[in-house]
């Protein structure tokens, strides 16, 4: 088994399963906070997936996408927090 196969057959599936698990939390909630946290985590995992995928497909430039993802995920969290604080109620 070479690195490629290792990443392809072991790492990526683990990451995929992780994201599905997180999605379960997203689905369950119960608070909107949980969902926001889950979304944030999903994106973080997405960054990991991109990193591994850039290795698999030998395209280092994909890593830049992960930076964009990280940046925007952060903004999303900030916005949700902003909203929730203003709204002051659990929806």
């Amino acid at each position: 088994m070479n690195v490629h196969d290792f990443l392809y057959y072991i790492i990526l599936p683990i990451l995929s399963i992780s994201s599905l698990l997180v999605f379960v939390r997203f689905f369950k909630g119960p608070s909107i906070v949980d969902r926001v946290v889950a979304l944030d985590l999903l994106i973080t995992i997405g960054i990991g997936i991109i990193a591994i995928y850039s290795v698999i497909s030998d395209k280092p430039t994909f890593l830049d996408i992960s930076l964009v993802l990280a940046l925007i995920a952060f903004l999303g969290t900030v916005a949700f927090a902003y909203y929730l604080e203003k709204r002051n109620k659990n929806d």
Binding site: I56, S57, K59, T61
Partner: protein
């Protein structure tokens, strides 16, 4: 894979259409977004998909050769995404303003302009 993508596209269309037929304006906009995503996916899939070969010429090369993804649908979708973003942003604000003026987001109550006056 294409079959799954086709099904997902169908689901996106169906969901989008279902949502835009709800009474809540929020759902209308959610529906619009879903529909927009569905359309993008449709163009993408119909442009034929290719894995792991982005339409980027290697730094050492001068032409793109072999198997590669069709860049045209990508460019089209990019344009469509940006346009949809503009429209969606506008729609969201329209919703806000409408709620502010009409005090409701129930679309069924926005039915006076069709009446004769």
């Amino acid at each position: 894979m294409e079959i799954l993508l086709a099904i997902i596209t169908g689901v996106l269309y169906a969901s989008g259409i279902y949502m835009i037929m709800r009474r809540s304006m929020v759902k209308l906009i959610l529906g619009i977004i879903l529909l927009g995503n569905g359309v993008n996916l449709l163009i993408f899939v119909l442009g034929r998909i290719t894995k792991g070969k982005p339409p980027i010429i290697d730094s050492a090369e001068k032409v793109l050769e072999g198997v590669y993804a069709d860049p045209i649908p990508q460019a089209l979708i990019l344009t469509a995404i940006v346009i949809s973003f503009g429209l969606q942003a506008f729609a969201i604000i329209l919703m806000k303003r409408t709620f502010k003026v009409l005090k409701t987001d129930d679309l069924d109550q926005l039915n006076t302009t069709d009446e004769d006056s």
